[in-house]
């Protein structure tokens, strides 16, 4: 079986790749495109470590077939910071020590950013349910939830015209 040619927009740039018909988007991101920030913790959509944005919606890239990405827009953890400037969610993860081993962190940051992009003022409960698809085994979630709430507060401030 010959490989499939796929054209996408990846972190803002046009990108093309060849893939097997059944390759996952995660496989292609990690092995073909060299973007190993998205992690595979389970391969079955149960841990969220591979979370990416697909046409503006967060998905588990392990549950997307690579050929499905044709013509779509993909954003990964590698595109969250603007150049060297961290996104407030990234900055707050650092300030709150919201990571220990850091393996689940990219998925959490992509998911948290997706939440704050549509809900600038989430409650703790909303944050917890939104992030329920992202497993963290190190932190007990406490500092992650605090970091997200604090990032939301920062973003609200930023958005408020002076």
């Amino acid at each position: 079986m010959s490989k499939i040619h796929v054209s996408t927009t990846l972190n803002g740039d046009a990108a093309e790749f060849l893939c097997e018909p059944t390759s996952s988007l995660l496989d292609v991101l990690r092995d073909t495109m060299g973007l190993t920030g998205s992690k595979e913790g389970c391969g079955s959509g149960d841990c969220g470590a591979c979370t990416v944005m697909l046409d503006g919606e967060m998905v588990c890239s392990c549950l997307v077939l690579a050929p499905e990405a044709e013509g779509r827009t993909i954003a990964t953890i590698e595109g969250v910071a603007e150049g060297s400037v961290l996104h407030p969610v990234q900055q707050k993860f650092l300030e709150h020590a919201a990571l220990q081993c850091g393996f689940c962190t990219p998925g959490f940051i992509v998911a948290a950013k997706a939440l704050l992009d549509r809900n600038p003022n989430p409650t703790e409960t909303e944050v917890r349910y939104w992030l329920a698809g992202n497993l963290c085994r190190c932190t007990g979630y406490d500092k992650i939830v605090r970091a997200v709430l604090d990032a939301a507060a920062d973003l609200r401030q930023e958005r408020t015209p002076a």
């Binding site: 079986m1 059944t22 697909l54 549950l63 997307v64 077939l65 499905e68």
Partner: protein, 289 residues
């Protein structure tokens, strides 16, 4: 090397032709069941027919006061349709209990129906709501009530070459309300140990004039428990009516013991959840539309 072919047809006819050409071919909507099954080796389809490039396959359409939900519509998109949420909140909630936000951004109700899991969350709600699947196949289009689609765990009543193109929900009846509840050990990211969907209509006096109760994970397929609906009709959901409802769903429950729950616990939860869902549905029915 993978022997699976990927297709992304642009029309229903092309999709039917591709599915008809290979009996092992599988339609791909959200992929949240299909891809997991392929990865685990449980399934190796000869072809994958991605439905998402077919026009009209994604999104909610209004048919008068009724709704047509394209087969490739992700569950989270249902929440964005205010009219649908107002009419069938139980269905929308049920669909939005599946997996995580990431999963629901991909998973579809049509896929949930066709995966034919007895524990599918959206199915009891759809069955209670009286939803119908519109099915395309070599013979053209036909309709089938949702409860008739799953035939056994992992098997559907669809003929070769057929696939669900949309799910239709009737208009919300005057005085109608629906609800879905499930029991899971965690708060999210779980498969229903038991699920209960209730849709009912109350008259101006608060008396139930019709009710449909559907239960998940208490048998090989989601079951519509007619006796349970009947137990509510003519009552105002007083305690004894609710007790009769619980008794009816328990009598209709024939669950298995497995890693997700025991027979006795599933039966007990069926009674509790049906009662709780009925009360939520009734509250919604009593609210001004």
């Amino acid at each position: 090397m993978s022997s699976t072919v990927y297709h992304a047809p642009g029309t229903v006819e092309d999709a039917v032709a591709l599915l008809s050409a290979d009996p092992t071919a599988r339609p791909l909507g959200g992929g949240t069941d299909l891809i997991v099954q392929m990865r685990s080796g449980r399934l190796s389809p000869g072809a994958i027919v991605d439905l998402k490039r077919i026009e009209g396959m994604s999104g909610v359409r209004r048919l008068g006061d009724a709704f047509a939900i394209g087969a490739a519509t992700p569950c989270t998109a249902l929440k964005a349709d205010a009219a649908l949420v107002a009419a069938w909140p139980g269905v929308v909630e049920a669909a939005n209990l599946i997996g995580s936000v990431q999963v629901r951004n991909r998973a579809t109700m049509a896929g949930n129906v066709c995966n034919a899991s007895p524990a599918a969350d959206s199915v009891p709600a759809l069955v209670a709501a009286g939803a119908v699947c519109v099915i395309a196949g070599p013979q053209g289009l036909r309709e089938m009530p949702v409860e008739a689609v799953p035939a056994a765990p992992g098997k559907t009543a669809l003929a070769p070459g057929e696939f669900v193109v949309e799910i239709r929900l009737p208009p919300k009846p005057a005085g109608g309300g629906d609800a879905y509840l499930r029991s899971i050990p965690r708060t999210e990211m779980d498969i229903a140990v038991v699920g209960a969907g209730v849709s009912l209509v109350l008259d101006g006096e608060g008396t139930c004039t019709s009710a449909r109760v559907a239960m998940g994970a208490v048998g090989p397929t989601v079951v519509l428990v007619e006796e349970a609906g009947a137990a509510l009709v003519g009552t105002r959901l007083e305690d004894d009516a609710l007790a009769a409802l619980s008794q009816a769903v328990q009598a209709a429950s024939n669950p298995i013991d497995d890693k997700r729950g025991s027979v006795s616990y599933r039966k007990a939860m069926a009674g509790v959840l049906a009662r709780r869902a009925a009360l939520i549905a009734a509250r919604r029915a009593g609210e001004k539309a």
